[in-house]
């Protein structure tokens, strides 16, 4: 399983990062969101730290949808999905490979979104970096576990692609709340609620989405028309 997972990661990263299959659109969409929200500030005004964190995570979530659509679309060009399904490895290796590739791509995108948020929304990173980094990784893990599952649901059919976005956002709400809560602390350094509750919430939903991915992927990703 590990070998197939690594093969899927390597192939997806090669196609996406080196051969230009799709990261740019996702990046531009995220940056556009941050820029548009920056226009909502009047001269001399500044968005609250919580709003800035929410914009950052909203950009990440939209970027994530495009990324997973793209990652799963790679298998549809010449019907390579069938070849993957014929592998003797467990089918979950595909889900895991796509999730990890998406995780790396999302982190790469966030390396651009974060400075963009600081610059366009006039924030500084004055909070403690430790909890912020942990929540970033936890939230990304959950988003990618869920995104990889729903990306499989979305492949191929236009109507299903629309479904991905509809299903994606409500399920992400707890993770986005945790990300926004701790993101606000990262931007203004104030810690009214403490970070442990948000970390616990994000960890719990990570576990749920990882388990759901392992259990449900085989039913969503099949060779049937």
């Amino acid at each position: 399983m590990l070998r197939m997972t690594l093969a899927v990661i390597r192939k997806d990263m090669t196609l996406t990062l080196l051969r230009g299959n799709g990261l740019v659109q996702a990046l531009l969409l995220g940056l556009l969101l941050i820029f548009v929200f920056s226009l909502s500030q009047g001269v001399g005004e500044s968005l609250s730290a919580r709003s800035a964190a929410a914009v950052f995570w909203l950009s990440s979530a939209f970027c994530q949808i495009l990324m997973f659509n793209q990652l799963y679309a790679l298998e549809e060009v010449n019907n390579s999905r069938l070849g993957l399904l014929l592998s003797p490895a467990p089918i979950q290796a595909i889900w895991l490979g796509k999730a990890i590739a998406g995780f790396v791509l999302l982190l790469s995108a966030q390396c651009i979104f974060l400075p963009a948020t600081v610059i366009f929304l006039g924030k500084s990173l004055s909070g403690p970096p430790g909890p912020s980094l942990v929540i970033l990784l936890l939230t990304d893990t959950g988003m990618c576990a869920l995104g990889s599952l729903l990306g499989a649901l979305a492949q191929g059919q236009t109507a299903r692609e629309a479904l991905l976005g509809i299903v994606f956002f409500p399920l992400l709400t707890p993770l986005l709340l945790a990300g926004t809560g701790i993101g606000a602390q990262a931007f203004d350094g104030i810690d009214p609620d403490g970070s442990s509750a948000w970390l616990g919430l994000a960890s719990a939903f990570d576990a749920i989405f990882l388990a759901a991915g392992l259990l449900l992927f085989a039913f969503l990703y099949a060779g049937d028309e």
Binding site: M4, A7, R10, T14, L82, G83, D224
Partner: protein, 220 residues
Amino acid sequence: MLELDRVARFYGHNLVFKDVSCTFAGGSMSLLLGNNGAGKSSLLRIMAGLARPSLGTARFTADSPKIGYLAHATFVYPALTALENLAFWRDVHGLDNTETDLLNVLARADIAGRAHDRAGTFSRGMAQRLNLARILLLAPDILLLDEPGAGLDAKSQALLRKEVLHARGRGACVVLVSHDLARDATLADRILLLEEGRLAYDGLPALFPPLADVEQACYA
């Protein structure tokens, strides 16, 4: 090696075929015939384990057989080179071939000269040869071919035919879907005909009515 027991396939309420029961042994080649929409491709996907039958069972009698599936779609990633494509499929199937082995397989499929070119620059015939190289690398126990020669030139067809015969020779169970009865019946040990939602013929090529009529006409 492969056993179908009363297999049926529905799409919604539409019956495609039902009560298909047969077994396929190693070292044999079966030709699966039928009109468009008869369910040949659906049956092949069920045999490959890519689709579930609506009714009945399909099971492998051998332990974890390697399955090769060659269809009109080429399974090729256009932005990867031919060698990268093959290396990817090697890893997906957990094989241990070296790069030299991969180049040898590409040479066997007659595309070694384009090993480092992106597959997106290949013609349809060359992409299908790369697909054939994937099958050669895998050396499957069960080889399922769904009109693999569609759109190929004479040279590629001959190469495909040679490798299919080689696979049967080393003991693989081969099932070929084709519309070219005259050409492919000479290769097959057995013909299956899907017609009107059932398996209308399952027997020797020499006794298959359309071919028997031709033979009788020749004798006359």
